[in-house]
Every structure is written in structure tokens, then in C-alpha cells.
Subunit: 229 residues, 2 copies
Amino acid sequence: VILETARRALTPQTLQGKKVLVSAGPTWEPFDPVRFITNPSSGKMGFALAAEAARRGASVDLVTGPTTLPDPAGLTTHRITTARDMERVVRTLAEEAHLVIMAAAVSDYRPEEAAPHKIKKDDEELTIRLVRNPDILAGLGKNKKPGQILVGFAAETEHLVRNATEKLQRKNLDLIVANDLTQPGAGFRSDTNVVKVLDRFGGVEELPCLSKEEIARRLLDRIESLGAR
Amino acid sequence: VILETARRALTPQTLQGKKVLVSAGPTWEPFDPVRFITNPSSGKMGFALAAEAARRGASVDLVTGPTTLPDPAGLTTHRITTARDMERVVRTLAEEAHLVIMAAAVSDYRPEEAAPHKIKKDDEELTIRLVRNPDILAGLGKNKKPGQILVGFAAETEHLVRNATEKLQRKNLDLIVANDLTQPGAGFRSDTNVVKVLDRFGGVEELPCLSKEEIARRLLDRIESLGAR
């Protein structure tokens, strides 16, 4: 906390008076009390963005799925489990936010039913029917407030720029951060990431392999300049 | 490491010359490069058991699924992802082990197929066919070496003692540690646990809510007395 106070004192307060909402981590989608569908997100990228925004003077809400990372200093952390939990919390907090950064890896699908007790492994095979989860990011794009900046992430294993551009437009985003999961040093659980940043004016910037903290700083610089445009 | 060396110096070397194999953590069973089925295991119970066995002078191999816990000092950690990876490593290491403690929460099922690329969420519904994973503990029970002690875990949400006793007998175990996931302070991710210990002579001992470190000590005391019986 002391270190964090010192870092903040040394950081220009460029987001003073702004409300920032960040999502992070995976979601867990249960099909019984002890089994669920998820993804490898560690929450590191979203936690780094939330911490950096707080350092720049913003009032920050961080909504995170299950992760072992501790609550960052100087902001409010909300812990949720499923995509539907996350949607409820994010939708309310987005009402007031100047900047919304959705870095969570929300599960696109959830099991149609969750058994009340642990399923005994009596059967050789088991079929799980999955249904689509709400698309939180698309919902925020549809209800975007005037002047609000909305940033999304796209983790892809193929057609990176094409898939990310399509997502940016369809979801009414201002910026999308695309990472190619097949590259070394990129994506989930790593302390580093390799990303391309696409904006709604057609700009594409490729960042080298950097720490997630450094990527957080560069993304916020970029977002601040977008707001001033 | 210094603290650990001091703790070891103060611990009676009751497992000197013994080889101990411990499994820990969850397994991840992927259905595409970024999505998988898993459970909430943090690995804490298995890591605590492995560390305590090493303190008592044993030569310890810890085989763990994905967890954010660091490698414990004074033993060999093997990191794996799926149940099939775990089976391969455990089966080999069990050949030489005097004591085998399977604390991992191995996924009973895995998706029949894993897509090579991230599945696009084009469909409203998706069906995943799951097939049974190998039962690692039952395999070890079938191939138990003379004098080898085999310990399993049972996490249940109903019929705790009945389900655990059935498992102990069917899998040829010497001891089973049963925990009721519905109790507060018990089971996954918690730093504490509430367990019942059942042995092959019909003994049932109920431990109060204790730290996972303290449970590790009591379980190893119990296992040592079982070996001397």
C-alpha cells in the first residue's frame, strides 16, 4: 500500500474525476456443484489496467471472476463467479462510467442445467448441452452513453485482425485489443503479452512483447488520446 | 527456503529413506484451445501433504495440475494439465513409492474431442460429449506393491461415509480422507478443511475444522501408525 501510494504520487493524474469500469478474469459455468466450464484467464491484464487507471486518479470499479490475485489497492473490487453474475454487476456500474474496459474472458456458453449434487461417474459417457451466455460487451455497445469510451479484448487463434475488426464494428467499440494466442509470450496466464490495438478510425498498432503492466500504461495513454480527439 | 530448512531441522525424521508420491490440484480437460472442463481445486491440501512429508525426511514427488501455488522447497514438483498426463507420470513414479497419496481432484470426464481452433460462438447451443477419464486411483489400487500404502480423497455433497467407504474398498485403499463439500470451512480453495478419515480396518475418525497444514500433519501421523500396525 505504501509503495502504491508513492507510485500514485509520481503518476500524472490524467484520469482525475473519471469513473472507470474494468472487468477481469475468467467466469466459471457450473454443471454440478464441483464441475464447471472455464478458460485459462488469470485476471492479470485486467488487474493491471484497473491498478494503472487508479494510479492516474480515476475512481475505479474492478469486476473480476475467480482468480487468486489479491484486491488491488485504491479501488473497489467486486468478485463474481458466472457470466450472468458479471453481466448484472457490470450493467449497473457502466451507467455512470466514462471509460469501460472489458478485459474479462467471459465464457460464451454455459451448461443448460446445473445438477444440485455431484454427478456420480456411473456412465461411460455424458453429454452436456451448452447454451449461449449473454454477450456483455455487445450489450454495453448497444447502450453506450454519449462520450463513453468502450474497450474490448479479442483472444484469437486464427484470422486475428479480421476477427478483431469485425468484433470492434459489430459491438460498437472504440478500441479493441487483439492477441494471438498462438504466439509465444502472449495471452492467458503469461506475465507478458503481444497485442495489436485497433481503433474505430481504422488505426492498427502492433505492440512488441511487453509486461502486462507496460501494456496497461500504453493502452491507457492511447485511450486518453482517443478521448481528446 | 531458510524458514523451511529450520522447520525441517525441528521435525523428527520419521519418513527418512521413504519415497512418497503426492498428487494435487485440478486437471484441465480442453474442448478447444481456450476452453476446458475443470473443478475448483486449488492444490493446497496436496501441497501441504507433500511439504510435510518432505519435512519428515521423505524423498517426495509432487504431481500437480494447473495451480498458482509455487513449487515447494525440498521436493520434486511435476506440473501436468490433463488427467491422462497425470496418469502417465503417476503410474511411473508409483512403481518405487512406499506411500502414495492421491489428493488431486482429477476430472472424471473429458471432452471426447478437442477442436484445434477456438470455437466461434455462432450457434445458440452447443453439445459436448464427454467420455470417462482413466480412474488413476483404482489403477494404483489394482497394482499396489507389497507394503505400499495407498491413500485417496473423496469429496462428496451427500452420503459422505457411505460413498467414501465404498470407494475405499472398491479401489483397494488403506485410508480415505472424506470431506463434505456442503460444510462451511470445508473443501476446495479454503485454507481450512473438515474431514473424516476412514481406514481399511473400519476405523472412522472425525477431525474438527483445521488448517490444511494441520490436517497434513495429522494425516501423516495416522499413516505412519498404519504402516507400523
